[in-house]
Point group: C2
Amino acid sequence: MRSYKDIRAILLERITSGAWPPGERIPDEVDLAREFGCTRPTVSRAMRGLVEAGLVERRRKAGTRVVRRDAREAVVAIPVVRAEIERRGSRYRFLCLRRRLAAPPAPIRAALGLDPRRRALHVLGLHLADERPWQLEDRWINLQTVPAARHERFDDVSPNEWLLARIPYSRAEHAFSAGTPGEEERELLALAPDEPVFVIERTTWLGADAVTRARLSHPGHAFRLTSRDPLALPA
Amino acid sequence: MRSYKDIRAILLERITSGAWPPGERIPDEVDLAREFGCTRPTVSRAMRGLVEAGLVERRRKAGTRVVRRDAREAVVAIPVVRAEIERRGSRYRFLCLRRRLAAPPAPIRAALGLDPRRRALHVLGLHLADERPWQLEDRWINLQTVPAARHERFDDVSPNEWLLARIPYSRAEHAFSAGTPGEEERELLALAPDEPVFVIERTTWLGADAVTRARLSHPGHAFRLTSRDPLALPA
DNA sequence: GAGTGGTCTAGACCACGGG
DNA sequence: CCGTGGTCTAGACCACTCG
């Protein structure tokens, strides 16, 4: 039997080998189904994986073409701090440094879609691995979306975990950058004199409502994000 | 008609709303097919998207469960340098600074899977946007995998683009970090005194053979990678 | 208009793996 | 063992969109 995975593997090989170079139109589903001795939906299914991997583009009537790749994609997994620290065999602790209600600065307000004078919950905390600073979390929480946060102290549980438990499936946008730490940040993270920080900025949405905006910074030495390639198709 | 997308949207809503909390077992395909008035393969297709998005886990006999999420995933698109610069309306230029055959340092050698004394092609080049430094590219190319590179000068075309044109569908691994620039790097990128660099390290494979290892560094201010959320399902 | 992909059905067999 | 998901078929209708 030729399964859709077999077919997909064959098609993939024809693309990666250069037999079907970028820009090339490839045979239509009916022809491929005949070639592989299967029905058209099976070919279609094989194709779907290649579309998702960004290898081919399909349009009705115009057929299927091998994509000319102009960007690489990488899938980055951003672990929950506690899990990452414990996975490394270190002891995790969260230290809440500040917690207040305040009107957020303009960029945050815009990101959270708040009214001008509306207040939000600001939490500053430090994630420690074996009592050494690992991540500084600077977060604003939209109380219109998550009113329950108003009564939460975040002494033991970081807002990160608290929100994850409460709103597990929110949508998020991320940005990664390298930054020069501020005065306080350098102290809190115990940074070496010229050491930069690796910054993850995350805005989280529940449906159309912004939940929270966080700035997560790590000491630059000894922190990196690694990625898997989306070209890896499921076995 | 209830299409698989409608069904997927309904299932997604039940998960994000908390109606089916993390860990919960959800009805099996036969029941859902009955509920939605469609056949089982259609439910199966709807489910597939949720599996790919990482929202549910399925096992035969054990059924389908809502996943307890312990990591966030982000999909980062890493644009080709030239395309990114031109998209911003700037003029692109590549400047080849060094090109030599040499035995790579141990970490590179390991990443490329080379024999101890085997030489590789080392290229150092600068990508300019309107004559301002944008990215420094420090690359080793495995000549066993890409012998044609031996005769390429890389005066006009960056190795990045040259490789992309020649080997469009390689698999890649990435790492992102914040770094302190070296002496030469600071000069070449025209960095401010305390400015860090944002570093992308990429290793590329063609089948089982390593193609190249690149270190791409950007001035820390004014460079960030942004991501889309894989939770966004295709329309 | 007509070619190509997108999707659904009804039914079937298979494969995995929990109980 | 046997429930559950995984996949395939044969056929059909539909929806885009290119020419």
